[in-house]
């Protein structure tokens, strides 16, 4: 099973890297992202790049965007390019196909996030180190990597789930974008709309948690959502339905 997952992921990553010219999923997009998160922002932020909690938010957001840009293609792309039926006619078990596609999307998003993480560290040391080595703390590094991994997982599971049913890549990408916009805008507009007493209680609860506890809570919530989405995708994966759809 693991060998099959690796095989599917191998092909997916090869295809992702072979995609050229596509601004969101292609090389140009990656170069821009590395430029922004690996060079520009560390230069702008200065020494705080290695200490500010805001940086962790970047490392949660970057893989989410990277994975969203490519995962819509996972099943809808195969359907659109007429490769899905041949794949389904192979000996691969359902879960190997599904997990292989999820794994490839995570590897892509998380892999480039780590690259940007390292490039950013190099940049901030060159520009603002002044002879001292600037490093992220171990808890910061762990938190950033964990958040990046879980948001990659979130985008990958949600993307595969949407892509399973979408007729085209465009439709999958649209549905996924709408879902992500809802995830961002509902809390952004919902929290300010809450009654004052509720907001005060929320604020109090938030202040009571340390940064590490915050990361742990967010991590648990993300992991739970990832698991639910993955289970939904497993349930939805039916060879006959994929062919007839």
């Amino acid at each position: 099973m693991i060998a099959d997952v690796v095989t599917v992921a191998w092909k997916e990553v090869k295809e992702l890297l072979a995609m050229g010219g596509n601004l969101r999923g292609g090389r140009i997009g990656i170069v821009i992202m590395v430029g922004v998160f690996g060079v520009f922002l560390p230069l702008q932020t200065g020494r705080e790049w290695v200490t500010s909690p805001m940086t962790i938010a970047y490392w949660a957001w970057v893989p989410l965007m990277l994975v969203t840009g490519v995962v819509a293609d996972s099943f809808a792309g195969e359907r659109e390019r007429h490769t899905l039926e041949t794949l389904l006619a192979s000996r691969l078990p359902d879960r190997a196909i599904l997990f292989g596609k999820v794994a490839a999307a995570i590897a892509y998003g998380w892999g480039f996030m780590i690259l940007m993480f390292i490039v950013g560290l190099v940049t901030v040391n060159i520009a603002h180190g002044h002879g001292r080595l600037l490093l992220f703390s171990s808890s910061f590094t762990l938190g950033a990597l964990l958040c990046g991994l879980l948001t990659s997982g979130l985008a990958a599971s949600a993307g595969v789930l949407v892509s399973l049913r979408a007729a085209t890549v465009r439709q999958a990408a649209q549905n996924l974008s709408i879902g992500i916009m809802l995830c961002i805008f509902v809390p952004a507009f919902g929290i300010p709309a809450l009654p004052k007493s509720w907001k005060a209680s929320l604020m109090q609860a938030a202040m009571a948690l340390s940064a590490a506890e915050w990361i742990a809570v967010v991590g648990i919530v993300l992991a739970a959502i990832d698991a639910v989405l993955l289970l939904a995708a497993i349930t939805r994966f039916k060879r006959a339905r994929l062919i007839l759809d």
Partner: protein, 314 residues
């Protein structure tokens, strides 16, 4: 790698049926495909050929009936069937952004072929199809004929016991079709694989297939060796000469060995029954005073058999 077959039978279906909301795509199909032959599955568009392949690969569940492929029930052991079969379906299924070699590498890995065997087999097949020199090019940059050859190579890569080829030469020009047909015939002869071939090209079926089945609207109309089917249609004989009258034509038509007789443009056309001889008819003509200058026998083609079957079912 060798695979079991059931008493020399690669595919066995019994009353296999598949319904869709508004149509019965496959209707009580009972069929036996012997192992080691090219079996042609013929029918017009929408006759249920592709649905049958999907049922045999376990990609769709039958509504009723059962099917065994390489000894495995497609309802319960579809994974085992897919492991032992290769398929070129309606589309080539190639990853056009990947190179030809990566396309084969992927399916070789899926089939869990050891790395050295995989590399050797890929080289062997690409060389056989004349594609080895261009292996590093992306499949998307290739002509349709080359892609089709690559897809056939992919289907044969893991040395399957059974290969499904769904209209492999459709949309190819005559030269590419002939080349692919020769390649398939060569590989089949060499590797002893069973091929389940659907095609619209009846000449191709006649040349490649040891047995053919004809379906229409999901129902099996006939099955047999191409020469049996063409013989069943009888032999058409053209007689050139003089002195053929309507009375004589009626007399010829009444003979037991004659199915039909008709006169056209001064020539007599006689359809003989299966295995019937023409000499008694010629004797009759000569005895009745007609002068026979030339007798030309024509065996019916598979295409004529196919068209007749379609006509009869209408």
């Amino acid at each position: 790698m060798t695979f079991r077959t059931t008493n020399g039978t690669a595919i066995r279906t019994r009353e296999l049926t598949r319904d869709f909301p508004r149509v019965r795509a496959v209707d009580a199909l009972t069929l036996e495909v012997p192992a080691g032959i090219v079996f042609g599955f013929l029918g017009p568009n929408g006759s249920g050929k592709t649905t049958t392949i999907r049922l045999l690969l376990g990609l769709l569940e039958p509504t009723a009936g059962r099917a065994e492929v390489l000894g495995f029930d497609v309802r319960t052991r579809a994974g085992s069937v897919r492991e032992r079969a290769g398929a070129l379906l309606e589309h080539t299924g190639l990853y056009e952004r990947l190179s030809a070699i990566d396309n084969l590498e992927y399916y070789g890995r899926i089939a869990r072929m050891p790395a050295t065997d995989r590399a050797a087999r890929i080289r062997e097949l690409l060389t056989h199809f004349g594609l080895w020199e261009r292996r590093a090019e992306t499949a998307g940059s290739w002509s349709r004929g080359m892609k089709q050859k690559l897809a056939v190579a992919r289907a044969l890569l893991h040395r399957p016991a059974l290969v499904f080829l769904d209209e492999p030469t459709a949309s190819l020009d005559p030269v590419a079709s002939a080349s692919l047909r020769d390649d398939i015939a060569g590989l089949v002869a060499r590797e002893g694989v069973t091929v389940f071939l659907t095609t619209h090209n009846l000449l191709e079926a006649e040349r490649l297939c040891a047995q053919v089945a004809v379906i229409r609207q999901g129902r099996l109309l006939t099955v047999g060796r191409p020469e049996e089917l063409t013989a069943r249609k009888g032999t058409r004989v053209e007689v050139r000469g003089r002195g053929f009258s309507e009375t004589l034509v009626s007399l010829v038509a009444s003979r037991p060995e004659v199915r039909t007789a008709a006169m056209n443009d001064g020539r007599l056309f006689v359809d003989l029954r299966d295995g019937a001889e023409m000499s008694p008819v010629v004797s009759l003509l000569v005895g009745a005073g007609a002068s026979v200058e030339e007798v030309r026998k024509e065996q019916a083609s598979l295409e004529e058999v196919f068209l007749t079957l379609m006509e009869e079912e209408r």
